[in-house]
Subunit: 107 residues, 2 copies
């Protein structure tokens, strides 16, 4: 689903990753994080897709809400496991959305 | 592959889409656009993944390089076909990357 975000400006966290082989508890954690993040102050939505590369973009009201999510204890534990178990490599980019537009085919 | 981008600031164009059924010439166009975009002034790289949702993030030096790519004639034709044939819906977000960090497991 394309995230329903408000009028810019707002923030995007672009998380791009390459996974290690095997699940190793990843799916369960990912579902848990989805539940948790949706209750975070300032969270606006997220979009996710994975082929060989995984891309997850989460949207936030401001930098403060991103910082608070980063400090969430369960999320911090998950991020640690990410480095130790689930990810071969990843990159996080914090970006301010300045403009957006969309298209919807109503046919 | 995770895009090798320079030190921020730079720009990200987050393109999120839902496809219509069937290929209808999409793959051929996508390959053509990949070749074209890589020769654009100010293009820094891109990342792409699709499940039910497709996410392509392209990275750019500045807003001017994004504008020039938008005005490229073949790209304009492809975008038109996108609206008419390939996409049920999409959203484009233009964002300024302010900060980034990464992780690489060297084991």
């Amino acid at each position: 689903m394309i995230a329903q975000t408000p009028k810019p400006p707002y923030y995007a966290v672009i998380f791009t990753s390459e996974r290690t082989d095997g699940d190793n508890g990843y799916l369960e954690m990912a579902e848990e994080m989805e539940k948790l993040v949706s209750r975070q102050q300032g969270f606006l939505g997220f979009e996710s897709a994975r082929e060989s590369l995984g891309i997850t973009v989460s949207y936030w009201e401001n930098l403060e809400s991103i910082r608070q999510w980063k400090e969430n204890a369960e999320h911090t534990e998950a991020r640690e496991k990410g480095r130790n178990i689930w990810y071969k490599s990843f990159k996080v980019r914090i970006a301010k959305v300045e403009r957006d537009y969309g298209f919807e085919n109503d046919e």
